[in-house]
Amino acid sequence: MNLITPHTYEIRDRIAVITLNGPPGNFLKDPEFIPVDALKTLLIKEEVKGVVVTGAGKHFSGGASLEDLFAQANDAALLEEKMNSGKRLLEFIDVLEIPVIAAIKGICFGGGLEISLACDMRFCNSGALFAFPESNHNMMPGLAGSYRLSHRIGFPDSLKMILGGDMVNAEEALLMKLVDRIVHDSDPAEAAICFLTRITEGRSIPVINSILRAIRNAYVLTQEEALMEETRMFCELVAAESRRRQREEL
């Protein structure tokens, strides 16, 4: 099925699979590769428990194509607005309280890498390649890539990648904790769907939301605040569970 953009989605047993579409490079014409509102509506309507983002064909995404970027460069206000829309989408994915996995084959550069960094986990195949080539063109990542990369892998490795423009292969990415798993014997998207199905099986959406929020709070709140929030969510789940049991008994 198509969302307004060329990219597609399907729902497999309450796991949404979003495919960046434009093989072979799956270049992103628009940083807001899916309208945020359309995505939000879809996730609620289908009661989605997990999301996989992947690329059509042999690669994940090469990011923005240089021609598209330069074509938009003349209208600074428009370019800025587009970047902000893209950032809002990635922020939505980042704080989304269901697990999101980027399933990466082949090339994952620039904006493509920024999309994958907004996800909770990254699975890749052994041929995956990661890079921020922007500095090679006198530019820089524009969709919070610098922020999210150093958050995930630390400052020294981020400097290598963003300033140096170094390309990183799957094995190196695993060591750097840029990816969480290299999938050898199947398609990373299938492995991600399988993994999400397995870990969310029998878990209600409130439980999934609470756990994801608790994980995020560990970063954005102080330890004291994060722990108190965990207590609050725990008590809410106990209340809900107790009401559910009472209804069953009646």
Partner: protein
């Protein structure tokens, strides 16, 4: 020197400057409501204990602890929601007290070492993650199975797991709620060393004794606490 008076669910003794707290409701050493009360009392005393330079925590018998009794907890916590707001505060206070209890282990001015044999599930894993070190037997079994009961870890387990194992692993383990053994625990950085099961406690006590009482003469165990708590 032995101090067991007043506690039904805990034993505590001090030998040669090393404190040893034993969860004492074998065989499962489950964490009952009474246990949580007694542990809270113990940790408030802990702050003022001058004669120990390290604390080891272990379970009596073959297991560390099977964790909180979720049935007992659900029954205790749920009537409040019908009785109205006053009781709701009691519930939050109970849970917040437990968080403070566990936090005070992490913030203890002396190193706290969990010596884990057998089962260490749910709140027991949470308690262990608030310690500075975790040594486990080859038979150890960890996990945060709360999601399998429609709940989530309630005493800081998710936060601590994020700190120790990273967010991706915390996501998987907290959502799936699966148990995992000693080797995986090391892989996830949730345990520091595997010791043959019959020697875990003695290893932990010996390790605790070998820790210098004063890291430097003028910087006591507080130095360790300050360094560790900035990590």
């Amino acid at each position: 020197m032995s101090e067991t008076s007043g506690y039904k669910t805990l034993l505590f003794e001090v030998n040669d400057g090393v404190g040893h707290l034993i969860l004492n409701q074998p065989p499962s050493n489950r964490m009952s409501l009474e246990f949580f009360s007694e542990l809270a009392a113990f940790t408030s005393n802990l702050q003022v204990m001058k004669d120990i330079r390290a604390l080891v925590i272990s379970g009596k018998g073959r297991h560390f602890s099977s964790g909180a009794d979720l049935e007992e907890l659900t029954v205790f916590l749920s009537p409040s929601y019908e009785e109205g707001e006053g009781r709701d505060e009691t519930v939050k206070n109970f849970m917040n007290r437990n968080i403070e209890t566990f936090r005070s282990l992490w913030e203890c001015r002396v190193p706290v070492i969990a010596a884990i044999r057998g089962v260490c599930l749910g709140s027991a894993s949470e308690l262990a993650m608030f310690c500075h070190f975790r040594f486990c037997g080859d038979d150890a079994l960890f996990g945060l199975p709360e999601s399998t009961f429609g709940l989530m870890p309630g005493i800081g387990g998710v936060s601590r797991m994020v700190s120790l194992a990273g967010p991706a692993m915390a996501l998987e383990l907290a959502l799936k709620g699966n148990t995992f053994g000693a080797t995986d625990a090391i892989k996830y950085c949730l345990a520091d060393r595997i010791i043959p099961k019959r020697e875990v406690v003695s290893f932990a006590l010996q390790f605790a004794s070998s820790l210098p009482g004063n890291y430097r003469k003028e910087k006591s165990p507080l130095y360790l606490q300050r360094t560790v708590s900035h990590a």
